[in-house]
């Protein structure tokens, strides 16, 4: 049985060059960057080189790059850190309804602890309306956090426009760019954001490494207190090998971006066309064009997405529904719900996310087996009979 991985939005394998760059720092170059001796120095140099590479990819200054343990930590730090540093200004946060759990749950937690949160609606493509943001900003609004590209449907938000509104009212702006980094050009100068989150493992670097970009001059409180690492803003001995890996991954992403985008477009467009040609009643969720090029979220009428995922798994193909969890709970995706997708279609949704190591053969295999799987589920699944009868 082939093994085809179409779940790059969940995680990506480590790029071989990334692994190669990391290896010495897992073995002989083991020093602690804070040490004064040669072992420490060697590690320190590597960390700072990596910082430059990350900065270069997003057009930031290296001093604006802070290494964290993951995208979730970056999101938590951005939101909580800004709120704590601006206590005198207020306690209001604005986010969108389709944020990643790292932002949503952080805000729910803050809400339970006395903060006030506005959840912005999105349109049917998953797009935030800048006017909506304008109406929601209050005197006590401290931070706006709106993701760059959505993990489930891939829609890219009009960050520059949204940012302008936030800046007119002097509100800090954070964006979770975990799903856009490496997939489209991300330029913090152009976007103008104050804070931006990155996760390593979506970018062919290892799991357990992330970045928070903090624009110079931004007042932020630390989440982790302790040693003086990361210019005293984020305590904890640096994950040197992973930092080096992330640096390398950013370097590769910067070099290959055009080539990567071309390939993703070819794969996902060919995939989408074949599926729409061979399977009736399939609907694409997400913006038709303003979307990261690797993500195709499809709803199959009369199927539960879960069964499709399992059916594909049995044939060696790995895909996800938007929010991966256990089988059977049938929780509709909050993203698709916010986009106004009818409930039965939200339950029939499957996310195909392509990546660097996919080929056209992968697309051919999947498009060949998928119609049969869908047909079988539609014929035998009682839920479909119910939909048909209604």
């Amino acid at each position: 049985m082939p093994e085809i991985y179409l779940d790059y939005n969940a995680t990506a394998p480590i790029h071989p060059e990334v692994l190669e760059a990391m290896q010495p720092y897992l073995t002989e170059k083991f020093g602690n960057p804070s040490s004064l001796h040669s072992f420490g120095r060697e590690a320190k140099v590597a960390v700072e080189e990596a910082r430059e590479k990350v900065a270069k990819l997003i057009n930031a200054h290296p001093s604006e790059i802070y290494f964290t343990s993951c995208g979730s930590e970056s999101d938590n730090w951005a939101i909580k850190g800004i709120l704590w540093a601006n206590k005198n200004k207020g306690n209001h946060i604005i986010i969108s309804k389709i944020e990643h759990q790292a932002v949503l749950e952080t805000c729910k937690f803050l809400e339970e602890n006395g903060y006030s949160v506005t959840y912005l609606d999105v349109d049917k493509f998953g797009m935030v309306d800048p006017d909506n943001l304008r109406k929601s900003v209050r005197k006590d609004t401290v931070i706006v956090s709106i993701m760059h590209a959505n993990n489930e449907v891939g829609t890219i938000q009009p960050i520059e426009e949204l940012l302008k509104i936030a800046k007119e009212r002097n509100v800090v702006f954070h964006t979770d760019a975990v799903q856009s980094i490496g997939k489209i050009s991300v330029d913090v100068q152009k976007l103008g954001v104050d804070l931006l989150s990155i996760s390593g493992h979506k970018l062919y670097a290892p799991k357990g490494i992330g970045v928070l970009f903090i624009k110079r001059g931004t007042k932020i409180t630390s989440l982790l207190q302790g040693g003086n690492q990361e210019r005293s803003r984020r305590a904890g001995t640096e994950n040197v090998a992973s930092i080096v890996g992330l640096g390398k991954a950013c370097e590769i992403a910067a070099q290959d971006l055009d080539e990567y985008q071309d390939k993703m477009k070819r794969l996902s467009e060919s995939f989408l066309k074949k599926i729409l040609d061979t399977i009736p009643e399939v609907y694409l969720s997400g913006h038709p064009t303003l979307r990261v090029p690797n993500t195709v979220n499809l709803s199959f009428n009369g199927c539960d997405g879960e069964s499709i995922i399992l059916g594909l798994d049995l044939q060696g193909v790995a895909v996800s529904s938007g929010s991966a969890c256990s089988i059977g709970s049938l929780e509709p995706s909050h993203v698709l719900m916010a986009m106004g997708v009818p409930k039965h279609l939200t339950l029939g949704s499957v996310r195909f996310s392509f990546g660097r190591f996919n080929s056209m053969e992968d697309v051919e295999y999947v498009t060949e087996i998928l119609p049969g799987i869908v047909e079988k589920i539609r014929n035998l699944h009682p839920a479909f009979a119910a939909t048909k009868n209604n």
């Binding site: 069964s307 399992l310 089988i327």
Partner: protein, 368 residues
């Protein structure tokens, strides 16, 4: 679509030694195995001791099942059926107790959750069979065209009693790989397959009452609204005490009623409408005749006339000789040859002809 040569079988795996060995055996016999573990409840919801490792649905047991599958190169999925389990099994359990009956929730769980709901999920995916680690056998009877359930080869481990409610359709797609094995052989196989679970103890209690403390469970469930105290009477309807709520009692239970009577006293009758419990001496508990409803015929079609058979009235009961007469479509009357102790409404009565499981149903009414 690519064709898979090997027949696909889904094995319901609790993480225990039996279902683990079942999965390994099927794999060895040339099936393509997918392990499935059901997540049926959370400790947060049912309470009890969270440090028990042997019961299903704990993280440890899900990990055990996943490890076994990983070891044999099989896929493993966790299905979250908490809602379905609560709706079909726990609620029924609570309602039955509130109605003065003593349910056996594994029966409903098997039929409704393990076969029906799980089946709806896996058969559209191309599964040919569903397998479990139950000790029982299935045989297709050419003469009648029916699938029969037979007791396990090892009668001391036989679990056919909990399977009476399976339909012919269920049975046509079910495999019980352990039916011909003894527990000792299964443990040996587990060691042969090098399974981590080889020496794991068997679980005895209801999975969702992991501490086996029903009083605690009922006090916590629905904020204790399912229990209220009431009077205890003797059979002359003289008040002899107070009970803490009828769900805490079952027919035949002693529960320290003897004090002041000079002899042991037992629960003889539960009257949910009056919220009362009747107690009596042991000799009052022995009865012969009762009716059974929700009857499911397994190895034979509904008999035309009365039949002699052996009837088992609780999980630990030795089947006893009886005459079974059909009352209507799914209702029968049982008359034991000799009185049996504590025939309990809500429990399952299962009819056997030797090793053949003829059918079963739920005990509804015991004649005085």
């Amino acid at each position: 679509m690519l064709k898979n040569k090997k027949p696909l079988v889904f094995v319901a795996m609790s993480g225990g030694v039996d279902s683990s060995v079942a999965a390994c055996l099927l794999q060895e016999q040339g099936y393509e195995v997918v392990g499935v573990t059901l997540k049926l409840w959370e400790y947060d919801e049912v309470g009890g001791n969270i440090f028990r490792e042997s019961v299903c649905c704990s993280i440890e047991t899900i990990n055990d099942a996943r490890n076994v599958c990983n070891q044999i190169g099989a896929k493993h999925w966790v299905f979250d059926f908490k809602e379905e389990f609560k709706k079909n099994v726990i609620s029924n359990f609570v309602d039955e107790y509130k109605s003065g009956r003593t349910p056996f929730p594994c029966i409903i769980c098997n039929r409704k959750v393990k076969w029906e709901i799980l089946g709806e999920k896996v058969f559209p995916l191309g599964a040919e069979f569903l397998a479990t680690g139950h000790y029982a056998r299935i045989k297709f009877d050419e003469k009648t065209g029916r699938y029969q359930i037979l007791k396990a080869q090892d009668s001391s481990r036989d679990q056919s009693y909990v399977l009476w409610s399976l339909s012919q359709k269920d049975l046509s797609k079910t495999l019980f790989p352990l039916g011909d094995l003894t527990k000792t052989q299964v443990r040996e196989l587990a060691r042969k397959y090098n399974l981590k679970t080889a020496n794991k103890p068997d679980s005895q209690e209801l999975c969702f009452v992991p501490d086996n403390d029903y009083e605690r469970f009922f006090k916590e469930w629905e904020n204790g609204n399912s229990v209220k105290p009431g009077p205890i009477y003797n059979l002359k309807k003289e008040k002899v005490g107070e009970h803490q709520g009828i769900p805490f009692y079952t027919i035949g239970q002693r529960k320290g009623f003897g004090k002041g009577f000079g002899k042991p006293m037992y629960v003889a009758k539960i009257e949910p409408k009056e919220n009362t419990i009747y107690i009596a001496e042991d000799k009052e508990l022995w009865k012969k005749i009762f009716t059974v409803n929700q009857v499911n015929w397994v190895s034979i079609p509904k008999p035309e006339k009365s039949i002699k058979c052996q009837v088992k009235i609780r999980n630990q009961h030795q089947p006893a000789s009886a005459t079974l007469s059909v009352l209507d479509e799914n209702k029968v009357r049982i008359e034991f040859d000799k009185p049996e102790r504590a025939i309990t409404p809500g429990q399952s009565a299962v009819f056997y002809d030797g090793e053949i499981l003829l059918g079963g149903g739920i005990i509804v009414k015991v004649e005085e």
